[in-house]
């Protein structure tokens, strides 16, 4: 599983690395760290934490890329 980051939306709320520090990290200003292609590789076994991070983002800046390559964000989800 990978997580896609929309850098135009990340505003440094820091919820992702607060709820799932094993998946997400922050830079010196408090914004999310991602690979150069704007994605984050989720370590095996930490998929639930990755999803909690996605569902916790107030900006909807994160979305899941699963094996079938479909992306899903938390937009409109009453999770």
């Amino acid at each position: 599983m990978k997580v896609k980051v929309d850098r135009t939306k990340c505003s440094g709320h820091g919820r992702c690395f607060a709820v799932a520090p094993e998946v997400y990290d922050s830079d010196d200003e408090g914004f999310i760290v991602s690979d150069a292609d704007g994605t984050i590789e989720v370590p095996e076994g930490h998929e639930d934490g990755a999803r909690l991070g996605i569902d916790s983002c107030p900006e909807g800046a994160l979305s899941a890329i699963t094996a079938d390559a479909t992306a899903s964000t938390n937009e409109g989800a009453a999770s």
Binding site: S11, G14, R15, F17, E29, G30, L52, S56, P58, A78
Partner: protein, 399 residues
């Protein structure tokens, strides 16, 4: 529509300072978020109010359409100076935030935790032998005030009583004395900045602001920035701290859970932040005609983003009228959104966690007087005026 029980039609005659809002805030915004995505106020220049989470989120992110250049206040008093970085747009906004953010990021503030714990315990020492405390003036506003001024901005300890008294009077004192008290505090901070300018640098947030150069950003603006970030955290964090202690006084089961297992506090604090929305309504101004939920808002129009209503939107938050200290995920907007997301949000969370950890450890059992009914005041911010608590002195732990 017919006049609702709270005596004012907030759909077409909204007023962010209405007395009805003080008493009925939760009911008013619960009605708006369910039945009125875009409310209107005819007051003064007139303004619109966005209430749905998805609309508030989109507007907060779209800073080019919903500009902060003309400030966050509807019917802004003439000549009132703008506060940076909250009342400006890019590129200046991001340039100033890039200078400030590194001092208040989650990693940067972690080093302050021992000093914050000391500050919290010093405050608790002042009232623990009495068995009674008025939380707002003796604890809740003093924690963020002292932490920012002394721990983060390096102001001398002997200035704290004056600053605390001034901020307290400026925030919840008699209305006619608030302006003067706040001005005295801000002048004091201006003198501190002058003194710091003459001293060797310490490499802290004050030096970063003093050294930041941008066309048109003068010394008076620098003092305004430091004043804004000082003041921005006091009443707001204070209200969440008071709200949390009020909830825990009224709900012994929740209190026992957190006393027995303080590791549950970070999740519970997100719920206190959501429920006790302390900066619930901040404005922008449109730069072009824009349609929101079927309403066309003309260019150059004031629009209030109701972060308080958005955090109670049933579309993102099941059972939004209940305090659920285990709620997860919790996608609230207590700290706003978009590029203007509260600068001090991470410091606020740290203050709340350490403040509640130490309070619950030393005073695990407390109550409000049976006849106490909390009174609130709502504007751009929301405050609880007082919160008296009583506790058994023999149960109170030593530090």
């Amino acid at each position: 529509m017919s006049t609702p029980p709270w005596g004012r039609d907030f759909h077409a005659d909204y007023d962010m300072n209405a007395v009805e809002l003080n008493e009925h805030y939760d009911e008013v915004v619960d009605d708006l978020v369910r039945t009125c995505p875009v409310a209107h106020s005819p007051a003064g220049e007139g303004y619109y109010i966005l209430n749905k989470y998805s609309d508030v989120q989109k507007a907060a992110q779209d800073w080019e359409t919903f500009s902060s250049k003309d400030g966050f206040l509807p019917n802004r008093p003439e000549g009132m100076p703008y506060w940076y970085p909250v009342e400006c747009d890019n590129p200046f906004h991001d340039a100033l935030r890039a200078v400030l953010n590194p001092f208040v990021s989650p990693k940067a503030i972690a080093k302050h935790e021992p000093a914050i714990r000391q500050t919290v315990n010093d405050l608790i020492d002042e009232f623990i032998d009495a068995g009674v405390v008025e939380i707002v003036s003796q604890f809740a506003n003093d924690v963020p005030g002292r932490v920012f001024c002394q721990v983060v901005a390096g102001m001398p300890a002997e200035d704290m009583p004056f600053l605390q008294r001034s901020f307290q009077a400026g925030l919840v004192g008699p209305v006619e004395e608030r302006g003067g008290a706040m001005t005295r505090a801000l002048e004091h901070i201006g003198r501190y900045l002058e003194q710091r300018q003459a001293e060797p640098p310490r490499g802290d947030i004050v030096d970063a602001v003093l050294n930041f150069e941008y066309p048109g950003y003068e010394f008076v603006d620098k003092a305004g920035t430091i004043s804004q970030v000082t003041q921005g955290g006091i009443g707001t964090t204070g209200f969440v701290l008071a709200g949390a202690l009020y909830h825990l006084a009224k709900h012994p089961d929740d209190r026992k859970r957190l006393v027995d297992d303080p590791s549950l506090l970070p999740v519970a604090i997100e719920e206190f932040l959501r429920f006790y929305a302390s900066a619930p309504q901040l404005g922008r101004k449109t730069t072009k005609d824009i349609e929101v939920a079927g309403t066309t808002i003309p260019a150059d129009t004031r629009v209030i983003l109701s972060f308080g209503a958005a955090s109670r939107d049933p579309e993102i938050c099941p059972r939004p009228t209940e305090v659920d200290i285990g709620r997860s995920p919790n996608r609230h907007m207590a700290f706003g959104g978009g590029p203007h997301r509260c600068l001090g949000s991470h410091l606020a969370r740290l203050n709340l966690r350490v403040g509640l950890e130490e309070f619950l450890r030393r005073i695990p059992d407390f109550e409000v007087p049976a006849d106490f009914v909390p009174e609130y005041q709502v504007g751009v911010t929301r405050d609880m005026i007082t919160l008296p608590l009583r506790f058994a002195r023999d149960r109170a732990a030593v530090r």
